[in-house]
């Protein structure tokens, strides 16, 4: 099982060396598993906040369906590199989250605009489903470099060290791209250019 803990870096190294050896099936299986687990966490984060709605447990069926689709899509991919895979997986995870939000909490869904009202005043964390959809779409529209780092950080749950390894960048550069992505996202979502 791959998860975002200290052990993941070692795991990633193993995966990258497997990929070097051309053993793409093993790599793909591990990475798909990782992405499905990350999807579950993000889906829980996105939907658990709608406290009164009480539907998270019931979204399990939807989750299974969408995770299955994620699994199938990724299984069709022949990853040329870990970078290629993570980019694609991050994008797919985001699309699944958007679809999950729209299908169950969309314009007619019971969770629409349900505001928990418990956000810290200055946080830009989405407070309802429509804000989550806007959030994911804003990520979609980030410039390539920022989106790539955002994908790997948030949708794939990799550490900055791991991202550096996957992208062939220094941790310092990864950190700066992550900061830039957050500033651009804030600009899009809150309409206040960080200049």
């Amino acid at each position: 099982m791959v998860c975002m803990d200290a052990g993941h870096t070692t795991k990633l190294n193993d995966l990258l060396s497997l990929l070097d050896q051309g053993d793409t099936d093993a790599v793909r299986t591990e990475l798909i598993e990782h992405s499905c687990q990350r999807l579950r966490l993000l889906a829980a984060k996105m939907l658990n906040r709608y406290l009164m709605v009480r539907r998270w447990e019931q979204t399990d069926d939807v989750f299974v369906e969408l995770a299955t689709r994620l699994h199938q899509t990724l299984a069709d991919v022949r990853p040329e590199s870990a970078r290629h895979f993570y980019n694609l997986a991050g994008q797919k995870v985001r699309w699944v989250l958007i679809e999950m939000a729209r299908r169950h909490y969309g314009p007619l869904g019971v969770g629409r605009n349900h505001d928990t009202g418990e956000q810290p005043e200055k946080s830009s964390q989405p407070r309802n489903v429509s804000e989550w959809v806007a959030f994911h779409e804003a990520v979609e529209n980030l410039p390539d470099e920022a989106r790539e780092v955002f994908n790997l950080t948030w949708y794939e749950g990799l550490s900055q060290e791991e991202i550096g390894e996957v992208l062939g960048l220094s941790v310092r550069t990864v950190k700066r791209r992550w900061q830039a992505a957050r500033c651009q996202l804030y600009e899009t979502l809150d309409g206040e250019p960080p200049s």
Partner: protein
């Protein structure tokens, strides 16, 4: 902005964020001392970084629902004061509650409103609870009461002050001998229920509670409501029998299969099938009828596991007592 200014700004933001993560919010004036022309931009970017700092937090720390109100429930369901959430799953939540008349702790299961969509559903639920209440066995969590409060239907059962088998699994504190004893006890309790005409349909470590005296007790009898097609699909994927997964009619051998999965997990630390989606699992069942059992498992246990986990119900144990 020049390339040099961008680089300087990036340095300052790195410095600010590393201090911020350690709990110090360095004032912008202090940070920008020596770079007054960057102060305004720095201020805006720091504002953006603060507003998006939640993206740096681990995603796992999220579910904050704790109180009845969070779940749209009142503080009291009739005479029962809801105290704290002790579990939630596909069917609903389980609350620890206090019986204000008998002055004792109880566990209250509240199904999701969608599971009880009509008055007919509610009546079926109540009737099933009444039937389950007649089950009397030391290895089955007894049902005390069933009730309705406005549109909420609930089942009241004994509060078991102990841990679930799932928790013990996570702690890694189940020896092989203990595992065998637990599973044997559960099989005997299941046999009692089967003889009374009940099928559990969701046997899994989370539904096996271990009381403080060590007695395993099966919880959640009655979730099946009735043996209709829909209830067949209830259950947890990893422990679900092949026939249940296919939506076919199930009998007691579905429970013995699930208990076989529990035994496998207890003695090997792994699930017999690693597939995580229904379609994969269905395919795995179709491709291979037998599971691979690690060679480290003693042969007597291997044969029990192999028989209880057979894809074909006809080749499994014909009763839970035979399993035991």
């Amino acid at each position: 902005m020049s390339i040099e200014d961008e680089a300087q700004l990036a340095e300052l933001l790195d410095l600010w964020e590393s201090k911020y993560e350690q709990g110090t919010d360095v004032p912008i004036a202090e940070l920008a001392a020596g770079y007054p022309h960057l102060e305004e931009t720095l201020e805006k970017r720091i504002k953006a970084l603060k507003a998006t700092a939640w993206l740096n937090e681990p995603v796992e720390k999220e579910d904050t629902r704790q109180s009845p109100e969070d779940y749209g429930l009142p503080e009291k369901l009739g005479r029962y004061e809801l105290q704290c959430l002790i579990g939630s799953g596909g069917f609903g939540q389980v609350w620890k509650a206090f019986d204000s008349e008998l002055h004792r702790s109880v566990a209250i299961k509240v199904p999701h409103p969608d599971r009880i969509g009509s008055d007919q559903d509610a009546e079926r639920f109540v009737q099933e609870a009444r039937r389950v209440a007649q089950l009397s066995h030391s290895g089955i969590v007894p049902v005390h009461d069933v009730g309705r409060h406005e549109d909420v239907v609930f089942i009241v059962s004994e509060f078991i002050d102990g841990k679930s088998l799932l928790e013990l699994l996570h702690e890694g504190s189940v020896s092989e001998e203990k595992a065998v004893n637990i599973v044997r006890s559960v099989a005997l309790a299941l046999d009692h229920a089967h003889q009374k005409g009940f099928i559990h349909r969701d046997i899994k470590p989370a539904n096996i509670l271990i009381a403080q005296d060590g007695t395993p007790k099966i919880a959640d009898f009655g979730i099946s409501i009735s043996a209709d097609e829909e209830s067949n699909s209830l259950g947890t994927l990893a422990y679900m029998s092949p026939e249940q997964l296919k939506g076919e009619q199930v009998d007691l051998r579905a429970d013995t299969y699930s208990l076989g999965v529990v035994l496998f997990q207890l003695v090997t630390g792994q699930l017999p099938r690693t597939e995580t989606t229904p379609s994969q699992l269905r395919k795995a069942f179709a491709d291979t009828s037998a599971v691979t059992i690690p060679s480290s498992i003693p042969s007597s246990l291997r044969s029990v596991l192999s028989k209880s986990l057979h894809v074909d119900p006809a080749l499994r144990y014909s009763s839970a007592s035979e399993f035991a």
